[in-house]
């Protein structure tokens, strides 16, 4: 890889093109490998595709660009505090639409920080909720058979599944 390149171009799974700085891309292990692997000069016609839709990729890149300076050089406590606040704002997103994709993307791109943050966000949404509330928030169908639930109810009278 040429040391003069500061940003690379990647494609989303929808075929959209995005720029990401090299230092931000290094937050993801697979992208980092790709950087070492491929020549990213301007005349290179090979553009890596990231298995993430455009809407999600925008968020992933936003996260990487914000966190890259700290990840590369370390940061003071006040920076860490500021970053924490930014993370909280950043994760205010729709559960069905984006959070799911962010989780999958962070997992697939091996991004430890974002993965942890997304899992924490999902966990916070579940905390203190009843089973039926969790199903509602995350649009999950109850796929236990009525026999299974009936059996548990019989064994434990007075218990509800809600």
């Amino acid at each position: 890889m040429s040391s003069s390149v500061e940003a690379i171009t990647v494609l989303s799974s929808d075929g959209d093109e995005f720029k990401i700085t090299v230092s931000a891309a290094k937050l993801s292990k697979p992208l980092n490998w790709m950087l070492e692997d491929v020549c990213f000069s301007d005349d290179c016609d090979e553009v890596p595709t990231i298995e993430v839709n455009s809407k999600t990729l925008v968020k992933v890149i936003e996260y990487c660009e914000k966190h890259a300076p700290r990840a590369n050089s370390g940061a003071s406590d006040s920076d860490a505090e500021e970053l924490k606040k930014w993370d909280i704002e950043f994760m205010k997103m729709d559960v069905k639409d984006i959070l799911f994709h962010i989780l999958m993307a962070a997992n697939y791109l091996h991004m430890e920080g974002l993965y942890d943050l997304a899992c924490q966000t999902a966990a916070d949404l579940m905390k203190g909720m009843t089973v039926s509330q969790i199903r509602k928030i995350f649009h999950i169908k109850n796929d236990f058979s009525s026999e299974e639930q009936e059996q548990l109810r019989r064994q434990h009278p007075g218990c509800s599944f809600d």
Partner: protein, 422 residues
């Protein structure tokens, strides 16, 4: 910012489209989310859908210490199942436990129960039994004179050591996998009140609140030297720490100190998040009010300053006190909003009595001239809650104390409907 790129570019990675379906989350992600949730929420999670249930019913090593506090009812040796009380959701379970038939429960370590059978001729058979996985470990037979048993960890873990303690004789006995019989050691000094395992060492408390520390690694290495013969005494390394008790003046406010009598304070050592706690349980001094608990005090061991530090606030911890089953839970980890709570059982003021060795409790009410069956089996004390109401707990003197143990979360996920929040 984004523009459509024409498809002439080679795609380096296969495009895979996935739909938003939270129930199809990869196992690793569900585990990670569950790892960030308190136990009660983890049980709810497992009831959401079948695929999440499949992940959470596994007994993963990283979740092994997670569970809910349960009580095992005593005096049920002749039952095929044992009655258990889940105290946080106030439910009673009948746990099928034919392995425990004819045996008394001496104590516990997490979900492991320590079951004892009197083989007559003063010999005991000790079995460590996990009632949830049905695993069993049989220890070598031993004389029935010990009054306390301490496990260093889960019985199937590496470096497992088990210690027996006889207070008055100041005798210890050790077992570790690979040895044929118990290794005995005589201690000098005063009789011992309680013992606990914490961060690689056994800690013993003597009557003057000093601590005797035995390193588990040291115990194992003295046995591997090959100089230990069957039943012979062996000499592990022991460190003695003279520990100062805090200023006793404030205790003078309490009337019981005016008639201070060692018999009326029961001392427990409890391990909590890598710290050793001393819990003092004050019984009413009057004989006719035997087994009436009036208050508890908690001290934490500071080995650098060689002192017991009085604790006014337990913060995130809940303590569970029992003869050979004391433990500590994190309220945050459990997901309950209970603070500064000490849970305890109807422990006898005489901890050297064992359920199997005699008829100590037979007709005890009549002998002491007490009203029958008025006591309770377990209770809860709020530390630092000085609302002026005097605390009083009258233990059931006719029953052997119940045993605290832990019901693992995977078991709840598998067999139990969601836990109702109180």
């Amino acid at each position: 910012m984004a523009k459509k790129r024409k498809t002439r570019y080679k795609k380096r990675i296969l495009k895979v489209k996935f739909d938003v379906d939270w129930s199809s989350l990869p196992q690793g992600i569900i585990e990670m989310i569950a790892d960030k949730l308190p136990s009660i929420d983890r049980v709810s999670l497992s009831k959401v859908c079948r695929s999440w249930n499949d992940v959470l019913v596994k007994d993963l090593p990283c979740w092994q210490s997670h569970g809910l506090p349960w009580l095992l009812v005593s005096g049920e040796q002749s039952k095929e199942s044992r009655t258990c009380i889940s105290i946080l959701d106030n439910r009673v379970w009948e746990l099928k436990l034919s392995e425990a038939y004819g045996k008394c429960c001496w104590g516990s370590f997490q979900e492991w129960l320590i079951m004892v059978k009197d083989m007559n001729n003063f010999i005991l058979e000790i079995k460590l039994l996990n009632p949830f996985t049905r695993s069993q470990v049989t220890l070598p037979p031993i004389w029935n004179l010990y009054h306390k048993i301490v496990l260093s960890g889960r019985p199937l873990e590496n470096d497992f050591v088990c210690m027996l303690l006889h207070s008055q004789h100041k005798e210890l006995a050790f077992y570790m996998p690979g040895v044929q019989s118990w290794l005995k050691h005589k201690l000098m000094g005063e009789p011992f009140e309680d013992a606990v395992f914490c961060k690689g060492s056994f800690y013993l408390l003597d009557k003057s609140s000093n601590i005797w520390q035995l390193d588990a690694k040291g115990i194992c290495s003295s046995t591997s030297k090959g100089d230990v013969h069957l039943g012979s005494l062996f000499e592990p390394e022991i460190h003695f720490h003279e520990i100062k008790m805090p200023d006793l003046l404030q205790l003078n406010e309490v009337q019981i100190l005016e008639r201070h009598d060692e018999n009326h304070i029961l001392r427990y050592l409890v391990e909590s998040c890598g710290e050793v706690f001393l819990v003092c349980r004050y019984f009413h001094p009057k004989q006719d009010r035997v087994l009436e608990t009036q208050k508890f005090e908690v001290y934490s061991l500071d080995l650098c300053q060689l002192s017991w530090k009085k604790m006014e606030d337990l913060k995130d911890r809940m303590l569970y006190l029992g003869k050979c089953c004391s433990s500590s839970f994190s309220t945050e980890e459990l997901g309950v909003g209970i603070s500064n709570s000490i849970y305890f059982t109807n422990d006898q003021a005489t901890p050297w009595w064992n359920e199997w060795d005699s008829d100590h409790l037979k007709d005890i009410s009549t002998r002491l001239g007490l009203v029958k069956n008025v006591g309770r089996d377990w209770g809860n004390f709020k530390l630092g809650n000085d609302d002026g109401e005097p605390f009083s707990f009258r233990g059931n003197i006719e029953k052997w104390p119940y045993t605290w143990f832990t019901a693992p979360i995977w078991w709840y996920c598998k067999y139990v409907p969601p836990i109702q929040r109180v």
